[in-house]
Assembly symmetry: C2
DNA sequence: CTCCAAAAACAACTCCAGTTGCGTTATGTG
DNA sequence: CACATAACGCAACTGGAGTTGTTTTTGGAG
């Protein structure tokens, strides 16, 4: 018989310790400063164990990303598509502005650009987010606020894209006003039926 | 008298050789695979020289970025804001699609996310591009195609942002249709006067 | 042409990420 | 309760990135 793992077993404890240490290290030193040795020391797990089970920093990132992708996030329901879209975009902006979550989220983006495995994990992460967020657009279509030809997830992408673009590509600051404007632009395009 | 450097001097030769080697290495191995030793060997310059003059991989990237930012790029002039915007967004898409330029451009984005100096260099690079590209919007305003309340560079940002978002954040493929749709969305928002 | 200063080359070294072989411990099963 | 096995811990090793002290070359001024 194959030995069945129990949730409280040693392996499970090691995995949780390493995951938590990875997130803590990412928050403190970012992706560039993430080393297996530091994660091993912080978690109390020997570094060879980390290397064998996770393979390296890429594995640590991918694992942490899958974990982060499992928990859903609070989609707003303000009653109007305008309020909902603004809420989503502000949620994104605040997520990176926050000194706690910001570095970790940024680290995920940085990792995915360089590592194929992390890229796949981040792709799945955003696919899930798009799917969840698209609900506000579908509701707006049902209410008759938007034409039913629009692609719900595409509206989401166009709404949040300028925030990410400023943060990770152009490296410009993102004000609340910038975020609102991005949401308004996506809404205008959706109303015009071009999305 | 201070000795004046001439363009053909040894230092200039070394600098050019290292710059060219850096671009070649970036194209082949990307940012993650960029090492000072490989650049040194490829350029025929000793690695200590590279370390002392450039400081490390970050310096190599920043230097190459400044170089790339100096050359302007071909802003379209099709006669209509619709054609111009589509042209710009397709230009961006093709730049990353191209097997020659793509890896280098991607490497710049990756480097800037992790290194502050590269981030500043990329910021300046995009500021220059926004300024140049905004010309097509200013022309459209003069022609009366767009209301004069719109922010020209913001239209550019919103137009290109979805392409970068798909490429570097969500890690989704970007079709020509996707690029056109992004341009159309920015245009619709600009016509509505929300940008 | 000569000589000086700056920059590059060279060699030897340090340090740390990552690997390997082996011993030890814990988990679930009979 | 004892045992088999998978997972972890441990120590020693490897290799390459990055550093330092010194010597050699080169460009240009007088």
């Amino acid at each position: 018989m194959e030995p069945r793992k129990r949730p409280g077993g040693r392996s499970a404890r090691v995995r949780d310790a390493v995951r938590q240490a990875t997130l803590a290290e990412l928050a403190e030193h970012g992706y560039a400063g993430l080393t297996v040795e530091n994660v091993a020391e912080r978690s109390g797990v020997h570094k060879t164990t980390v290397y064998r089970r996770w393979g390296g920093v890429e594995g640590l990132i991918s694992d942490a990303l899958e974990l982060a992708g499992e928990e859903p996030w609070p989609i707003p329901d303000t009653g109007s598509i305008e309020g909902d879209l603004r809420g989503i975009v502000q949620l994104v902006r605040n997520g990176f502005d926050d000194p706690e979550l910001g570095p970790v989220s940024s680290a995920f983006v940085a990792a995915a650009i360089q590592d194929p495995a992390a890229a796949r994990a981040l792709h799945d992460f955003f696919a899930a987010r798009h799917e969840q967020s698209a609900e506000v657009v579908r509701r707006a279509i049902e209410r008759g606020e938007l034409p039913d030809v629009v692609d719900p997830s595409e509206v989401i992408r166009v709404a949040v894209a300028p925030v990410y673009y400023r943060l990770f590509v152009a490296h410009e600051p993102v004000s609340e006003h910038d975020a609102d404007r991005a949401a308004a632009a996506a809404l205008a395009a959706a109303r015009a039926g071009v999305l």
